[in-house]
Amino acid sequence: MSTVPVEYFLIVAAVLFVIGAVGFLLRRNLLVLLMSIELMLNSVNLTLVAYNRIHAANHAGQNLAFFVIAVAAAEAAVGLAIVLAFFRVRKTIHSDEANLLKN
């Protein structure tokens, strides 16, 4: 059983979330955007599991993390399918080119 305090894990999760959010806002490659979303989901999962370590009477946090993993897998599959369909239309995966509905 690990003796590392839980707040260390929470701080790592917060830093990872900021890395993912900053990457999502500043990058233009659709694949990198999807990877940034995965990073953010992973950091939230880490937070849930870390708090479940303190409130260890049940597995609420770990169960929620389990469902988040399932939803993240579905999101990655559908998101990558959308990237492929977008690439077929515009021949690029630059997110600024996704302006067909503008004006």
Partner: protein, 201 residues
């Protein structure tokens, strides 16, 4: 014991943070996917330290085994066009502002956490089933059985939807040969499309 725990935590934290930065900063998306893999393996190590063994295994199987491989497949499918030029070159001020808001709120959250860390300090004793397949499965199939079944339905819908979106409009060759003979069918289809476009305009 304490030193080993700290060293293990430091190793996983290094993996997570370097992997995250590598994911976001990489010019080549393949390197980004490798960074994502690194971060995911690091998080699986953190789950082990938080006595979530089942989730650590799931993390490796689902993320490292399926999601990262899916990303790599798509990158290979797109070829060299998967790399877009101009990273943050033409980035608007509003995007930097949004990133700064995230950064500030995270710093605020971390300082709050650090100030109240004494309330978190006591780690409770765990039951031997905490985080194992038995412990989680017992709750998953009793208290959380409805969301569990719904997530199965969600995955099925996602699979069908992903295939439908990624395939696009495929022409069945046998149907195309049949449709070639009566040409007016295609003409009618075009007229309908034009009328629809006019309506939309």
């Amino acid at each position: 014991m304490k030193a080993f725990d700290l060293a293990f935590f430091g190793l996983t934290a290094l993996l997570v943070l370097l992997g995250g930065i590598g994911t976001v900063a990489a010019k080549n998306p393949i390197r980004g996917a490798m960074g994502l893999l690194m971060a995911i393996v690091g998080i699986a190590g953190m789950y082990l330290q938080l006595s979530a063994e089942f989730l650590a295994a799931i993390q490796i199987i689902v993320y490292a085994g399926a999601v990262v491989v899916l990303f790599l497949f798509v990158i290979m499918l797109l070829g060299p066009q998967a790399t877009t030029s101009a990273g943050a070159a033409g980035t608007k001020v509003s995007r930097y502002f949004g990133a700064g808001v995230f950064l500030l709120s995270a710093i605020g959250a971390m300082s709050l956490l650090w100030r109240t860390r004494s309330e978190l300090a006591a780690l409770p004793k765990l039951s031997p089933q905490h985080g194992t397949i038995e412990g989680i499965g017992r709750e998953l199939f009793t208290a959380h059985v409805v969301p569990f079944e719904l997530s199965g339905a969600l995955l099925l819908v996602a699979v069908v939807g992903a295939i439908a979106v990624a395939r696009g409009k495929q022409v069945d060759p046998t149907l195309a040969a049949k449709a070639k003979a009566p040409a007016e069918a295609a003409g009618g289809g075009d007229a309908g499309h034009g009328a629809h476009a006019k309506e939309a305009g």
